[in-house]
Subunit: 433 residues, 2 copies
Amino acid sequence: MKTVNVGLIGAGTVGCGVIKVLTENSELIEKRSGVRIRLKKIADIDIKRKRPVQIPESLLTTNAWEIIEDTDIPIVIELVGGTTVAKDFVLGAIERGKHVVTANKALLALYGKEIFLAASKREVDVGFEASVGGGIPIIRAIREGYVANNILSLYGIINGTSNYILSKMTEEGREFNEVLKQAQAEGYAEADPSLDIDGVDAAHKLSILVMLSFGIFLDFSRIHVEGIRNITPLDISFANEFGYRIKLLAIAKSREGRIEARVHPTLVRKETPLADVSGVFNAIHVTGDAVGPTMLYGMGAGMMPTASAVVSDVVEIAKNITLGNSHSSLPRFYGGDISSSPIPMSEITTKYYLRFQVEDRPGVLAQIAGSLGKNNISIESVIQKGRKLEGGDVPVVIMTHEAREKDLLSALDEIDRFPVVKAKSVFIRIEEL
Amino acid sequence: MKTVNVGLIGAGTVGCGVIKVLTENSELIEKRSGVRIRLKKIADIDIKRKRPVQIPESLLTTNAWEIIEDTDIPIVIELVGGTTVAKDFVLGAIERGKHVVTANKALLALYGKEIFLAASKREVDVGFEASVGGGIPIIRAIREGYVANNILSLYGIINGTSNYILSKMTEEGREFNEVLKQAQAEGYAEADPSLDIDGVDAAHKLSILVMLSFGIFLDFSRIHVEGIRNITPLDISFANEFGYRIKLLAIAKSREGRIEARVHPTLVRKETPLADVSGVFNAIHVTGDAVGPTMLYGMGAGMMPTASAVVSDVVEIAKNITLGNSHSSLPRFYGGDISSSPIPMSEITTKYYLRFQVEDRPGVLAQIAGSLGKNNISIESVIQKGRKLEGGDVPVVIMTHEAREKDLLSALDEIDRFPVVKAKSVFIRIEEL
């Protein structure tokens, strides 16, 4: 049995999961892959901390470069996170001809092209299955399973924290802030939850999926990113009446040689499989021109699911090392003609859920409908109920047919200035999968 | 750009899909993989037939051996189906040092070990992503994505025809025979539907999934296989009242070093993601000890989805050929200690749905409950309604707690001999995912 040495940088939650898997399932991994993986060194800034796994002290170091510069370690696992030292570690390892496995979606979303090109030059591999969807093998699915497909669309529920909060709000009819606090207390949301609930984490992952699906490296700053802070139980409940659930979706589509890429709360029909993905679960719905609609579902985060993905990459690379195979899983940037800027939101066409807070008197709906019509937005259905809001106002909810976002924003701008309209209008995009 | 020649044996529905994908998406495949795939020869017994794709006549032959013996073709795609000539073709190609890609689940379920060992000896690869779940990349997911996991359980809806029929029966409350006829008329079921509706096709696929998940080659004749012919709208409706749907599941579990492997109609809770997999869709729910519960969903059959999977294997092998890489995706039979016979059904423990047709008079339930109790079967809930069946009988429906199948069969044997019991009792197994 050939042995391949591995160094681990970052022994936090996922790092400990990796140690656990490599320890407890080592025999299974050997039997399945024909390779023995040996964790030779583990670096962490805090080597005294209590951990959920036993680590022999002799393996531990506070100096990550001891691993990166160890000529006896061909594979470096980076689980530090962030985009500062992690970038140095990853590029440092690649420069020294080492293969890298990482779960770092922020790093890949911002510096992926640089990293992959460096790896390509040094003929080393970079495994990043763990960067999107935890243990869900979505990277392999897109890269290999759907290799023969033009990807038509991609919808991801890829942030567990947001999905957990929206699910709780939906099930229990509670307010965002209240549910967030509970999620924080229960460990489902970070003390600083903004990366998750503002959609940034989902956008990081989206840019990785776009890279694989369309062969381009997106300018991250140009991705439209909207989180879930403004979602209310009222909107969830109206959406429900129309047959929809509200999910934070990461969306990418190919349209006439250009790419739509956006993250925002979205109404999806209850019948679509994505609508039932609740709690901390993740799912990625991919439609290819040959394979048709597909969905991969699983736990999108956490110690063991993420470790499962990290180790899957380590095993693949270790096997290639022992077989003397060339690396072959780096993303290719073949989408040369496609702009690295997604289509601007103003040019997006979609259906919309609109909610207006208006004075309870005749003619209001006609005024709103008039403005929508003037802006080329046609109405599919309306709910206008006696349900009172603060100050005696009532909500009017409208579902539109497909419309251009630019037209919608013009209409809302006009409508929000009507004296009968008492609060900023709410719009949430709808996707019919 | 390196070119790899491919020969296709079998230009039926899926074969034409492969031709279509390789033709229409060739540029995309080249850009993604760096390899050009050239379809050099196509064999079919009928080369005159009208096909949904244009095939240059010069490529066509009626003699498959022209492909197998062509030293200029390193990859042979076998899409003939069946286990007679297909076996000769596959083994013949392997003997000549060719890589093989096949969608033939029956062949792999019955002769997989022989084929994989032959391939291993000749150091060639066998791709079979298309053999289970159409375009769903479940083979890669289990083999590579979950390589670090002990697979705890596996539940598959992997026969589209059965799922289509059960879905229609559920939605429309119609009888099996009626729906089958419609499915046949619409092309969703074969003229001879037995392989599909009797569970054999699902069992073929199950044995492939078991091979990958547990490293053993099952004795196919020992897999318990039950189809959907006996499912009635009445049972579907009662199951619904208890919060369940009825699905034809292929099930495998690891239990104390032994394997459960069985195919039968199963009650699954409506909340589980499997319950919502309807129509011709397939889904495979896999739980690993690290990754937790996962599910892959998509179109389990059809021209283009299956072609997508076939071509994914062709591309992988072609890449390895051009890179000079050793093959590495053959299943390993590492589960040496595990019996190739699944645990006998009599030793299975599960929950049961039971339906009795009884005379409408007092004391009947007590009699049935008594017999169940005597056989160590405890009752979770009961529905006894005034709903009349033919002859004035009424149905009694019981959901049990976990019980041994052996005990259940003893109880039913006794109960069926009670004079108040008017028809053979129905039992359907329940799985709580």
